[in-house]
Symmetry: C2
Subunit: 333 residues, 2 copies
DNA sequence: GTGAAAGCGCTAACAG
DNA sequence: CTGTTAGCGCTTTCAC
């Protein structure tokens, strides 16, 4: 199954080297033999063996991607963008999914290294000096996305702290004074890499602290994975100064929260406001339109690939500026 | 960068063959030298080169996936399931996306073959004898998903014709007599492989024809890519016998339609009913709850991988039974 | 313009 | 138990 260069060489009565010259448009071959070889190759449906080629050439033209999963809309978009951009640059993608399992993440990375990918795009769930050392020892370019690891690797993302700060100010500006902050990942503080989620929380806390509005209350923070249950135990209609907002550290939580509020007959934003983050595309079909923070996942994907490709082809890891974001004024705040 | 078996052999003063025995837990090596070799390998962070291994062993333990894109929720789910199941079986996934481009699909397949994937999971957009011949000549196991190609390749999916037939009967049973059928892909009939979409349409047409209910009218069929615009030109509140339903050949269209109806102030299902297909997970956040046809994409992914793996490891392509489906009774019909 | 040979890193078959 | 050798398929260098 599958004819090889050597076999073509025999069939044509030439050497493998000559076949190589013909097949790869190299110089130093007469047009006549070249055509003859190409003819035979076509007739036998010659397909080059990429493994052998990459072994000889030293490049696989493959990039590895390590993500949680594809359930989150954003990741699907990101993967899509990565594949497209990678393809444009001549790379094929190895997709590996970790399900947020830290050991599995290491396994995935190891597999990619064994397969000698030219570079890796990583949404890290691990962190810490050991992990960094491990990553550094790979001798493989790595670009991090959506979750910062360290300045030893380029990072593609936004300034989440500032963005959530802006969001908080926006809410305060609209009369919100009491807040419930939902962010289950915070429960993994110190264990997993939840940099982005921490940044968002910090940005939120900053804003509340810095607010010159005296009536802003201490926020209630929900770290429970069963955040809807936790929410159920709170009296959301309790009277008090200013309005109440449920701040979700990402849209996925916000959607669940809105479903819950709907079943409880709690009106948004009349009774309580809801703030999201990510602007996932699902939102365009949901009423009321969620107020959220938008950034461009497609751009993330492209930037990550561009950066990785530049690193692969160049010497050092290029710097990537943080991406932009904006608050999407919906109907829930 | 990266130590090789040969180098380890030199360092340990043994032959490459012995190192291979130690590294791969083979028999015929003394515990002592084995430990010594493993020691050195670990110290130098030995990582096997998968390309070389696969070249020598004849298997890549890689499966290729060819899909449109990841925008459709279903595909993201499918990809996720494929990756997970493939990983369980020891395979790594090459993901290629075609954007529904028929030439690009061929390119993707060729790339995967060059990379000597052990098998391919394909959502085909091409069809016809030429394409089938091309595919057959690959000498690579291929399993088709979601879009049937021919009985030469296993197919993972449901009986779409019957499912849409059931859906139509369900609507007729609920008093619907006038139908608008939305299915832009039908415009590519004869060109692209739209098997599934045709099946759904056929099932729908069957049901209307076979209905013993005399008042069922000929459906209006929208094949226009700008189906919302087409819909705008129709008087949806026109009086007539029975109720009117907009039947969408997949949920993605239904969501757009519902958004449109909302902006027009047309109530669902009071003024007009809406039927979907696929039961994408987005639906759980959309009101009113869309009536649709459910099938299990996760199962598709698993079955496809299982089938492919069985074929790779066995002789012939295993048969896969059609998967189940069910109508999800929502609030829009 | 073409051929021969070495090598990429690993495996497997055969000697010893 | 260990070493040797011959590949896997392609590339590349150096002769001719």
């Amino acid at each position: 199954m599958g004819i090889t260069i050597k076999q073509i060489a025999e069939l044509c009565g030439v050497s493998p080297g000559t076949v190589d010259r013909a097949l790869n448009n190299r110089t130093g071959i007469s047009e006549k033999t070249k055509q003859r070889i190409l003819e035979v190759a076509r007739a036998h449906r010659y397909v080059p063996d990429h493994r052998a080629r990459s072994l000889a050439r030293g490049r696989t033209m493959t990039i590895g991607v390590v993500l949680f999963d594809l359930y989150n809309r954003s990741f699907a978009q990101l993967t899509n963008a990565i594949e497209r951009r990678a393809r444009e640059l001549g790379y094929v993608v190895h997709l590996t999914l970790t399900g947020k399992n830290r050991d599995l993440e290491k396994t995935c990375i190891r597999q990619l290294v064994e397969r000698k990918v030219d570079g890796i795009i990583l949404f890290p769930v691990n962190k810490g000096p050991d992990f960094e050392a491990e990553l550094a020892s790979l001798d493989t370019p790595v670009v991090t996305v959506c979750n910062y690891l360290s300045d030893r690797w380029p990072y593609v993302g936004i300034d989440d702290r500032k963005a959530m700060n802006d969001a908080a100010c926006y809410m305060i500006g609209r009369g919100y004074r009491r807040f419930i902050y939902i962010c289950p990942p915070l429960a993994f503080r110190g264990q997993a890499n939840i940099f982005t989620q921490e940044q968002r929380w910090n940005g939120f806390a900053d804003a509340l602290r810095d607010s010159d509005c005296a009536s802003v209350a201490q926020p209630v923070v929900i770290r429970d994975k069963h955040y809807v249950d936790a929410l159920r135990r709170i009296d959301l209609r309790e009277a008090g100064p200013g309005r109440t907002a449920i701040v979700c550290s990402c849209d996925a939580y916000a959607l669940e929260v809105m479903n819950f509020l709907k079943t409880e007959g709690i009106r948004v934003p009349e009774d309580v406001g809801v703030m999201g983050f990510d602007n996932i595309d699902t939102l365009q079909y949901v009423t009321p339109r969620l107020t959220t923070v938008h950034y461009d996942m497609e751009e993330f994907g492209e930037r990550a690939v561009n950066c990785l490709a530049a690193w692969i082809e160049g010497e050092a890891a290029p710097d990537v500026p943080l991406s932009g974001y904006r608050i999407v004024e919906g109907e829930t705040i």
